[in-house]
């Protein structure tokens, strides 16, 4: 590296033309397997990586700053654009933080629906991971097979909220809609079909010698590394640390549900791949339990908290006080009490939490999103040196980073 010029940003100081047998290449931001907008500057000796510098910021939209100029309900659709593979988990993480701030709990039916949507999103996200990871490693067929099942899951989301990618299916204090007729039957049919598809993927990959050759002992994250880089989710559990926020700090209905947290102590990409497959099976188990739970709930969908949450539509149309409240809440926005709150949730990628500082205004004083992919991007500079270019792709795929979430 040449002597950095302190007046210019670090990445402008990189010397791309070298004389010492090393080659510096830009892996991204337009590279086919850069998972969105990752720019990875790799210093190569032959095909071996000597140094890796992940560079982020190519998808930066200032979402955290936007939150300071929007009322809470306005901001909720913006959270869709964080982890756009599983948008409901972002909506939910934000809604949960605001609910903790205003001290409201969603009614039981809303909780059931939310947990269903969260787990459905987990399946969608894991299928997407499997598809892109397999494509990165060169298995084209799995890509198309997994996308096919993901389409069916997205059809279910579309039936519920009308959107396929940016759902906005959760509101602060509940959910806007009840499940449409026949939705649960469709879900049950999907859940009956999915295990056979997962078995197909596993038959094609798990014992496939080439797949094992490509994934075993590649991208090793030791437990110490995982902890010191702030990894969460499968990156942490793939290193043998059993930590899942659904079990550690249960939110929604997770404390009542019966499910396991798969852990692998292989520490490599193959172990993480196995965990993704196991988690999908656990999600199926959770969704089956939730279908039974739904029938025992009454029909209330939004929490009753007139200071913060609009009354149901019927009351707004018939009662003067509800109409006034609604008018104020829509034009000025809710005013949560002063305070700071952080609510962690287990998104498909890892620990996703929103920290909200409220000064009693309708706008958040500061909103910080703790996105798991950001930390998983950082670890790349630690685990990439010493690997080959082909493994770089495997490792990026196996960390499952999504750039909407990293850059915010």
């Amino acid at each position: 590296m040449q002597q950095p010029n302190k007046l210019r940003p670090f990445f402008e100081n990189l010397n791309f033309e070298r004389d010492d047998n090393t080659m510096v290449i830009n892996f991204g931001p337009q590279h086919p397997s850069a998972h969105g907008q990752l720019r990875l500057v790799l210093e190569l000796q032959g095909e071996q990586v000597v140094k890796a510098y992940p560079d982020i910021g190519y998808l930066h939209r200032g979402i955290e700053k936007m939150a300071e100029n929007m009322i809470y309900n306005e901001f909720l659709p913006t959270t869709d654009r964080l982890d756009y593979i599983a948008s409901t988990s972002n909506n939910y993480a934000f809604a949960l933080a605001v609910e903790r701030l205003i001290g409201v709990e969603a009614p039981r039916r809303a909780q059931v629906i939310r947990t269903m949507l969260l787990e459905l999103n987990r399946i969608i996200s894991h299928l997407f991971f499997l598809a892109t990871h397999a494509l990165d490693v060169g298995a084209m067929s799995i890509f198309l097979y997994a996308f096919r099942e993901r389409e069916f899951a997205m059809d279910l989301m579309e039936d519920y909220c009308g959107a396929r990618l940016t759902h906005s299916a959760v509101r602060i204090g509940g959910v806007p809609l009840d499940l449409p007729d026949g939705w649960l039957e469709n879900l049950a049919r999907f859940l009956d079909k999915l295990p056979s598809q997962i078995k197909l993927y596993e038959d094609l990959l798990t014992e496939n010698r080439i797949w094992k050759m490509r994934l075993e002992n590649v991208g090793i994250v030791t437990p110490e590394q995982a902890l010191s880089w702030g990894c969460s989710g499968i990156m942490l559990r793939g290193s043998g640390i059993k930590y899942d926020i659904r079990k550690e700090e249960p939110y929604e209905l997770y404390s009542e549900l019966d499910f396991d947290i798969p852990v692998s102590d292989r520490c490599d990409s193959y172990g993480r791949y196995r965990l993704y497959m196991e988690e999908m099976k656990e999600s199926i188990k959770i969704l089956r339990q939730l279908i039974d739970m739904y029938y025992t709930t009454d029909s209330q969908l939004m929490a009753h908290a007139p200071r913060y949450i609009s009354a149901p539509k019927e009351e707004i149309m018939t009662q003067n006080y509800a109409l006034m409240q609604h008018f104020v809440l829509v034009t000025q926005g809710m005013r949560p009490p002063k305070g700071t709150v952080y609510a962690p949730t287990e998104s498909p990628k890892g620990e996703l939490g929103f920290l909200i500082r409220s000064e009693g205004e309708p706008y958040a004083y500061r909103l910080k999103c703790r996105a798991p992919s950001f930390f998983h991007t950082g670890i790349l500079q630690d685990i990439l040196p010493g690997t080959y270019i082909a493994d770089v792709v495997t490792i990026i795929g196996s960390t499952n980073i999504v750039f909407g979430e990293v850059d915010r």
Partner: protein, 318 residues
């Protein structure tokens, strides 16, 4: 005169190569589709068969961009040379029972040399593109070619040893069912090294899209890209035809001898190749080297020993 015209431009010549390219490209797509649970080309022509024609004519007429900083002559002539070199083996292959265009005692030698020279042209293409990804791809082409050509040459040598001739039409005439069985290990080895030589999965390392963008072809667009695709598919033809000629008796069939049999043999090799393509991930560079030098090359040498043994003990008739 008219014969030379027909053979140069029509049957084993340019037009044949073009029709083969368009047909095989369509077949690749259409055969791959059900394996991927897709439909494949659908709208243009019967079963979408005009689709590749339109695609190739689109590429043919598009603007070719020459990046600054490259030698423009090298950059734009290399694809043309690659196509010509890929087409040349056509003259020594006995397509029909009239024998090859050029009936020479050194047919096999010409075939393997022309097939073996192609990767070096691709290396030059990548090297001359002045792009780091092209350069990485070019180095990968070279490494892979060196690793697989040894096995390729050794397995192509087996029939020549068995029949004591390098003349391809003589080899075709002497192929029998017994010789096919003796040469079956050679055919399998030939097929594996064919996958490596033609950069097909699981050995599609040089143009691994997820790793080195498009390898040596990264900078090419329009006509240059068309030429490279053409060269690739014509080389498919040469190598498939080599397998058909050396091991399966080319045009010789069950009830009648015709080009049709040759075609069926080549397509069946393509079918196996595409099925492997749909089923496997890609291996890495050092795994490929490991596989090639530790398993494939020693096995090819053992196979030669087996062929010599079989020639001495079983196949004394020739």
């Amino acid at each position: 005169m008219i014969d030379a015209f027909i053979s140069g431009f029509l049957f084993p010549g340019v037009l044949y190569a073009l029709v083969w390219t368009v047909g095989l490209f369509w077949f690749f797509r259409k055969f791959m589709a059900p394996l991927h649970k897709r439909v494949g080309p659908y709208y243009n022509g019967p079963h979408g068969s005009y689709q590749t024609l339109f695609d190739l004519s689109k590429l043919w007429t598009k603007e070719s961009i020459t990046p600054t900083g490259v030698n423009p002559y090298l950059f734009s002539t290399m694809p043309l040379i690659a196509v010509i070199v890929a087409m040349l083996p056509n003259v020594v292959i006995p397509w029909t029972n009239n024998g090859p265009l050029l009936n020479t005692p050194y047919g096999l030698l010409i075939l393997v040399v022309l097939v073996g020279i192609e990767p070096f042209l691709l290396f030059l293409i990548g090297f001359g593109s002045d792009n780091k990804y092209s350069f990485l791809g070019a180095i990968r082409v070279l490494t892979q070619a060196i690793s697989f050509e040894t096995a390729f040459f050794l397995s192509a040598l087996a029939p020549a040893l068995l029949f004591s001739t390098l003349n391809l039409s003589k080899i075709v005439e002497s192929v029998s069912f017994v010789s096919f069985l003796i040469l079956l290990p050679s055919l399998i080895l030939y097929f594996i090294s064919l996958l490596g030589l033609l950069e097909q999965p699981p050995f599609n390392i040089p143009d691994a899209e997820q790793e080195v963008v498009y390898g040596f072809m990264t900078e090419y667009s329009g006509t240059g890209y068309f030429m490279l695709q053409l060269a690739k598919f014509v080389e498919f033809m040469a190598v498939f035809a080599g397998a058909g000629t050396l091991f399966m008796g080319a045009y010789r069939g069950i009830f009648f001898d015709s080009y049709l049999w040759f075609f069926i043999k080549m397509v069946s090799i393509a079918v196996i190749m595409i099925t492997i393509r749909a089923a496997t991930p890609r291996i890495t560079m050092e795994q490929m080297l490991h596989f090639s030098w530790r398993y494939l090359v020693p096995l090819s040498l053992l196979n030669l020993a087996w062929v010599m043994f079989a020639k001495a003990m079983i196949f004394t008739g020739v």
